[in-house]
Chain length 408, copies 2
């Protein structure tokens, strides 16, 4: 069932038990052929299997049945925030995704460089996926030649990758419910931003963004590869209820990629700085900050990347690399360990997918169910069944004794 | 999923089929050691196993994932009332818990005898858990020496156990959303009752309760063991929709302990008086009233008590004692039998727990699933999966043919 955070906020209590949420991005898979195995089933994972044997397993649904998650919503779900209820604007996720420190006065948009024909109709919504270096140059050009200073606002344009960039407008009184400029098909003119909230700040913000877009398109007009741009997902940081407040746990994120640091920051976790990008580096960092926190989110990226590349074997090996650090993790004596993914990324599909994600819970008071292996089909028999990913943290805090009894 | 009572109210229809809900309090367990068995798995239960073999099994979640239930909310859930939605005040549960016949004009509170130091700060919130005889004496003293008659109200103080008592104030115009006097920590002064509803009756009730508390503390001031008291969970009977109306079943509760009789009464069941406290006594009573009712709630307490004592073997034996009366139960020819617990009470944890509860459904039209044993791990493979406890009565009424078809 979908988690109601208020219930947990009312029951949470502190103790010394520590919880580790180990996320292998895109963990779940499907076999390449009907009679084949998944990546996780193929991987040699004696340590994860031990956790499965001693604990409970099941499969988690990140968003809703059949829905393929983006990374942002999938992680919100892992942190127990229903991504349908807590709708984070794409601009905000994109800004967090590049590690931009979005403030309360910032309105953020996902920008796409594009091309328009002589009549002003969109001819390529992604400007032929220009190289990232070109994106950087264009962002610098926009930064130097556009301004809303006269209106009292700061403008920041930051490159992301290929045709993608982030626009941030900073100042007082921004907000509303703003539409995209992207017509979503070629052969149509870009749209003006409109406000659907009916508020004064919405109307003001729409006018401001349109003014900037006009300037920016003029600046780009003579560019050979990307003579226009569009904005999507204009939004502010929604000010989510903070994970640390709801569960009364000092919480740390040990992630390599900006996107995951960003979502962790969005819910109030401390993001730990460190160098190195392998699972064993991450466990070293975990050991280093162990005493300072109660909850640890460890994010392993490459399982997903290899899945998206369609590289079945490399994904298998990355899962095995994680398996090899499990004993270092257990040596720290966590009370509860959860191993899961934010979603599935089957190498066969070369993309994120909607398949439920194998998930294990391990700890002193976790029911040792009848499953002795960590894998998609093994988890069918597990005690946890099929459940919504927003249940993961609630179960973990229960197992860790961090929830007071409900009622007399 | 959480049960919506209105749906069932609209579909319920009467027939001659009888349903038995057999609740072993705290039934669920976990193994003492990773490779061990639970209490239910250890128990020799050929009759329960037969029901499991012929019926469907699964595991029910009493409140929400990870949340440990109190007995009151857990039973509401068994009766298909979501305890998050139907929040019964602690005072009401405590009053029902001692068999007090709470009326519509009654405001009830859970009382705790306490001690305060010379400065009026709480030094022991439970007055050293005074013996129950002392509690009885102090309640009599309060009954004789406090009064709200001048204000037009009756006051009733009833002992519960050790430092616990129930206060009931009876009269017109009581209500509101009243705070506790217990500061919850020692070294602080007791709090005045405040109303958070903002209603006139709330403000009036808060003033009235504060007046009584002042009198009561003066009466206790020279007591050596308990020179003060606190009140918690001030509330009225919330007037729940009645089970008998929703499901159109004449319903009887066959329980030994006041608490469970109380919750049954709260939803409108008839509470059957009888003597004897063993499972076979309860089945005798069942046979006696069999023709008069359609739905029977049988509550077995000692499975929970032994779990709380950490007495694994005694809990096993109590489960076996229940198993031995199953054939007497079946001889009455019930249409549907449900065997479950209100929550888990693993002897290992010596307390209620959040673990899903093994639950079986037996009846002519119940799907015989592939599970042939009643137990925690056996039920992992059962047809019912993991489900919310509020689904139990809906499934049972469906199996008993007591729900009309939905739509043409």
């Amino acid at each position: 069932m979908i988690t109601d955070l208020n219930i947990y906020k009312n029951l949470s209590q502190t103790n010394e038990n520590k919880i580790v949420l180990l996320v292998m991005d895109g963990l779940g898979g499907i076999p390449l052929h009907v009679n084949g195995l998944t990546e996780l089933e193929t991987a040699h994972t004696p340590n994860l299997d031990r956790l499965a044997r001693e604990g409970s397993v099941g499969r988690s649904i990140p968003i809703r049945p059949g829905i393929t998650p983006g990374s942002g919503p999938a992680h919100l779900s892992l942190f127990s925030y229903d991504p349908i209820k807590f709708d984070i604007g794409r601009g905000v996720l994109e800004a967090f995704g590049i590690g931009f420190d979005l403030g309360a006065k910032d309105l953020a948009a996902r920008g796409n460089f594009a091309t328009v024909d002589a009549g002003g109709l969109v001819s390529d919504r992604r400007a032929g996926r220009i190289p990232t270096e070109e994106c950087i140059r264009l962002c610098d050009k926009l930064q130097a030649n556009t301004s809303l200073a006269e209106q009292g606002y700061e403008v920041i344009a930051k490159p992301v990758k290929e045709h993608r960039f982030v626009l941030v407008i900073r100042g007082d009184g921004l907000g509303g419910d703003l539409t995209d400029t992207d017509p979503l098909v070629t052969g149509k003119a870009p749209l003006a931003v409109e406000d659907e909230s009916g508020t004064a700040e919405g109307a003001h913000s729409a006018a401001l963004v349109n003014k900037w877009v006009e300037q920016a398109r003029a600046v780009l007009a003579d560019e050979p590869k990307a003579n226009s741009l569009n904005l999507r997902g204009l939004a502010r940081d929604p000010g989510l209820p903070q994970f640390t407040d709801i569960y009364q746990m000092r919480s740390a994120a040990i992630a390599v990629y900006p996107m995951y640091k960003g979502v962790a920051k969005l819910v109030g976790m401390d993001v730990i700085d460190f160098s190195g990008d392998r699972p064993f580096h991450q466990i070293e960092v975990l050991a280093h900050v162990w005493k300072e926190y109660d909850f640890f989110f460890i994010h392993i990226k490459k399982t997903d990347s290899y899945g998206e590349d369609g590289n079945f074997d490399a994904k298998v090996h990355e899962i095995e690399a994680v398996d090899q650090v499990i004993h270092h993790l257990l040596a720290l004596e966590p009370a509860v360990v959860i191993v899961t993914g934010d979603h599935s990324t089957p190498a066969k599909m070369q993309s994120h997918s909607y398949h439920p994600v194998p998930t294990l819970f391990w700890g002193e008071d976790v029911m040792p169910d009848s499953v002795a292996v960590f894998g998609e089909r093994a988890s069918e028999g597990g005690a946890m069944g099929v459940f919504h990913a927003t249940e993961i943290v609630p179960w973990a805090t229960g197992y860790a004794g961090k929830l007071a009894r409900f009622g007399a």
